[in-house]
């Protein structure tokens, strides 16, 4: 493999592994901890990275709108996280993980209506697959 490819592919694969591990830990933790407490512990876990970003002080630029959007992201992602931990407590991680990964469907639908972005063909096919998947899993 060419070293340049590996240069960016390695961290991209690491992202995949970290997030996959997150789903597994969410399932593991939700067996003993209620969803609200899981979100509290989750938040504690994000603090070391925030502190690292603060100390490094590199690539930190935002206007007030950017700061506000960031905080609103945290609120939506956090409440979504509580629902995610609740889903993990009630269902199989092997199903809840893949199903919740369908959230980009809502993003693309919102982006087409609110940001006037156009759906590409791959995304349209993705929506069809998502609906078939939902039909298979809901039975």
């Amino acid at each position: 493999m060419k070293p340049r490819l590996w240069h960016w592919l390695a961290p991209a694969l690491m992202a995949c592994l970290w997030w996959g591990l997150f789903g597994f830990l969410a399932k593991l933790g939700s067996a003993d901890v209620n969803a609200y407490d899981m979100q509290v512990l989750f938040t504690v876990g994000t603090i070391p990275i925030a502190i690292y970003i603060l100390i490094r002080r590199a690539g930190m630029r935002a206007n007030n709108k950017g700061r506000l959007i960031g905080a609103v992201i945290g609120i939506f992602a956090g409440v979504g996280g509580i629902a995610y931990f609740a889903a993990m407590a009630r269902g199989k991680a092997s199903i809840v993980g893949p199903v919740t990964s369908l959230f980009p469907m809502v993003t693309v639908l919102l982006a087409t209506t609110l940001l006037k972005e156009r759906l590409n063909r791959v995304q349209m096919a993705g929506i069809v697959l998502a609906l078939i998947s939902a039909a298979l899993l809901a039975t």
Partner: protein
Amino acid sequence: MTWLVASLITIALWGVVGLLQKMGSQHSTSNSLMLWTTAGYLLLLPFLFTDSHLLALPARALVVGVASGLTNGLGAWSLYTAFERGARASVAVPLTALNPLVTLVLALLVLGERLTVAQTAGVVLALIAGAMLSYEPNAKEGA
């Protein structure tokens, strides 16, 4: 509440997050957005302590919970590192969208979960659909 209802709420809220990240990337760098996202998490904390059993939890549960937040943050950080090193969003984002495959494998191997044929087909389609939905050929990097 069933797992399905809870999952649908997650999909709706994280779907909005995806939109906000698109909007935020025009007003903020990824590092800054990540920092303010943590601020948003902290704002939620007072509302979460109403029915808390944190003090009664075993150490193992505390470690697993904190590790979930850490691994989630490391995931975002790794993706931003990939962007800094020249990864194209149209390739890297759909690739990272396959992350529940890792969850799936761990759940089957470590937790001994088993799926029916219909569930296996549904899960595989959901993984592919998630990657396809994340595909944006002209996406701005660092979103």
